[in-house]
């Protein structure tokens, strides 16, 4: 299975999915109008990864902004890992961005995954 790499821009996030390290990273901004089409390859990649996941999967969400449709997609990503062993979500928020921290808590409540919170500048 191959790495999945996308370089972001003003509208879409950087995405790096590594099946050997079990590391899924999303950073930057995510506001595509059609998030569902944009993230379809990511969701497909995850389905394939989950056939043979490594012992521990870490998901880094380091977004400084995401729109509501990206939010639904993130929910879908987390849902795929429900009932899997050893999954940690590292939820980053810019310092003073209380709203982003609160979003993380809501996704934690929705997904019941193990969330760790980190600040970044």
């Amino acid at each position: 299975m191959e790495n999945f790499i996308r370089i972001g821009n003003n509208e879409t996030p950087n995405i790096s999915l590594n099946p050997i390290l079990g590391r899924l990273e999303f950073s930057g901004k995510s506001l595509p109008e059609d998030s569902f089409s944009f993230f379809k390859p990511v969701l497909d990649w995850i389905d394939e990864y989950l056939d043979f996941p490594v012992a521990r999967t870490e998901i880094d969400i380091k977004l400084d902004y995401f729109n509501t449709s990206t939010g639904v997609v993130l929910g879908k990503v987390f849902n795929k890992f429900q009932e899997k062993e050893n999954v940690v979500v590292h939820w980053f928020h810019l310092s003073e961005d209380e709203d982003m921290l609160e979003s993380g808590k809501e996704f934690e409540e929705l997904s019941k995954l193990n969330f760790e919170y980190h600040e970044f500048q």
């Binding site: 639904v72 929910g75 879908k76």
Partner: protein, 204 residues
């Protein structure tokens, strides 16, 4: 004309090349009006995904210049994205009235994000009910509704985030959403929308 330059300002005699004097006068009047009202961005025209993206790029630049606090800037951008995408993605195009308006400005201790677009009048009732439902909820109620709608969207195979934008705007704003419908003809209505938020966050 309401916004003509006042008498004590010196005005050079206009050189009229073609067209009417009215447009020459009104461009200054419009500029002055936007400056006086401290408008951060104003756009009038079609809103398709590509244009929306460009408008957002300019919006972000202007917000960086004109809103000093990070938190207010983030709120304004978030509301702007949802507001514009609501129009360009979720509303059906009406050929007769292709143009929408979008504006961010300030009044007193608040910033506002406003938009206006034409919708089919048969949509007015359901949109009004949704806005009233949102406006009747407090902070906790909005959070619960937001989570409930996300949960429902997650269950659907067909992905949709219908309604989430408005809820998200209301949560960011912390104020009631302002709206108005004006009948334009027998089939269409103009939908004016405004979300406001405090320049300085309220002390907790």
């Amino acid at each position: 004309m309401a916004y003509l330059a006042s008498q004590n300002q010196s005005i050079t005699p206009p050189v009229q090349i073609s067209g009417s004097m009215k447009s020459l006068n009104s461009i200054y009047a419009l500029h002055k009006k936007l400056e006086d009202d401290q408008i951060i961005i104003a756009y009038e025209g079609e809103l398709n995904p590509q244009i929306t993206n460009s408008v957002l790029t300019i919006t972000e630049k202007n917000l960086d210049k004109k809103i000093p606090t990070t938190q207010a800037r983030r709120k304004a951008f978030h509301i702007a994205v949802e507001c514009l995408q609501n129009i360009s993605t979720h509303s059906e195009k009406i050929e007769k009235y292709p143009n929408s308006i979008f504006m961010i400005g300030q009044e007193g201790d608040e910033f506002f994000v406003s938009s206006g677009n034409v919708i089919n009048s048969n949509k007015v009732g359901s949109l009004q009910r949704r806005l009233d439902q949102i406006n009747n909820l407090d902070k906790e109620g909005l959070k619960q509704l937001h989570m409930q709608v996300i949960k429902e969207s997650l269950l659907k195979q067909e992905s949709s985030n219908a309604g989430l934008g408005l809820i998200s705007i209301a949560r960011k704003s912390g104020k009631k959403i302002g709206y108005q419908f004006v009948e334009m003809d027998s089939e269409n209505s103009f939908f004016s929308f405004q979300a406001t938020f405090l320049k300085e966050p309220e002390a907790v």
